[in-house]
Point group: C2
């Protein structure tokens, strides 16, 4: 079908270019050129550049939350008390993240980059959109995290969650570049799986840290 093909090509191109150059630095012309569609197609199908940015997020975030929700449904049957350890929780995250878009790590890096941008670009309109759009899923995740960290006070939990998020977002979004630096400095290079294996105990220990 012509419609969804054009829409998909635009989303693919936008995703890649946004991650590489940021939102404002990416023009609709570069997106439509890379997508091989007409310039006007963006405004026709999405309405505006702002709406396109939101659509890029939704396309990634929807299946991600769907997968997380499915995992949680399954888990609640096995462990009815709903208490996961931090390590179990991180494992779930890693697997959910790795599972989305068929384990395509490039898309993961792109999305993490976009997530970081969403926090400090766009005057917050994007974050508010996401918060309204995925509010219940987000809250469900926070319940999970809360159960995994019963000893933390709410504000401690809030901040440690974001410390963790920042570390993961920075690492995953800069994965390729960091591995290049590592090769440059040590003449050795981890696989991406190795990095994830190193990251998990780092995060778990941070979450568990004494005050």
């Amino acid at each position: 079908m012509a419609h969804s093909d054009t829409v998909t090509r635009i989303l693919d191109a936008a995703e890649e270019l946004f991650a590489e150059h940021g939102f404002s630095e990416t023009s609709l012309r570069s997106i439509t050129t890379q997508a091989g569609v007409n310039l006007a197609a963006v405004n026709y199908h999405f309405g505006s550049k702002k709406a396109l940015i939101q659509a890029v997020f939704s396309r990634y975030l929807s299946p991600f939350y769907k997968m997380i929700a499915g995992s949680l449904d399954h888990y609640e049957k096995i462990k009815p008390d709903g208490v996961l350890s931090i390590e179990e929780m991180l494992g779930y995250f890693v697997r959910a993240i790795a599972g989305v878009s068929g384990g395509d790590r490039r898309r993961l890096a792109i999305f993490m980059r976009l997530l970081g941008l969403a926090y400090n670009q766009g005057q917050g309109h994007l974050r508010k959109y996401l918060q309204n759009e995925y509010k219940t899923d987000y809250e469900r995740l926070m319940v999970l995290f809360t159960n995994a960290t019963p000893d933390l006070k709410p504000e401690e939990r809030f901040w440690r969650f974001h410390f963790m998020l920042g570390s993961a977002a920075f690492t995953l979004s800069n994965m390729e570049h960091l591995r290049a630096i590592q090769k440059d400095e040590f003449n050795e290079q981890c696989t991406e799986e190795d990095v994830l294996e190193l990251l998990q105990p780092f995060l778990a220990a941070g979450i568990r840290a004494a005050k």
Copy 2:
């Protein structure tokens, strides 16, 4: 003197507006308007917007490294073996960070955002500029970190350092937004000092984590 006054006013305005809206989203017109100077003054004094961004960055980074270097000089006299604990090292960082520009945190947020950008765009002018400009200072910091973590293998140290950097960069560059979210969710708000106090044990525990 008229010269340095105009230059300073431009740097102050640029710093503030960059922090609030990002680089591409901040126009020279908004900068010169806020600074109360003529539009052409930026290109006259700095040459280009790109050079202005570098100048904003240098104005922060130079005293930061000078302060770090001074602290290290002083510390090496007290502890000639040059071994700091992780907590001592983090404390130094926090104090150096807090001390630069009289504890003005907005400037810190800019610096952290620039740091993230420098890592992100592999071909960006910022990263190359920084690497040439502050190479020796960076290496000196890595020696300090190495001495603080004698049990880590080099590649573990490398990655945990960047996990830490990512967490700090994300938190500090999004400090205002995160605190706003906290207020939104909990009707409470930490001070920025509180956040730094929370961050330190998180990072220290991550660095110390069992493998």
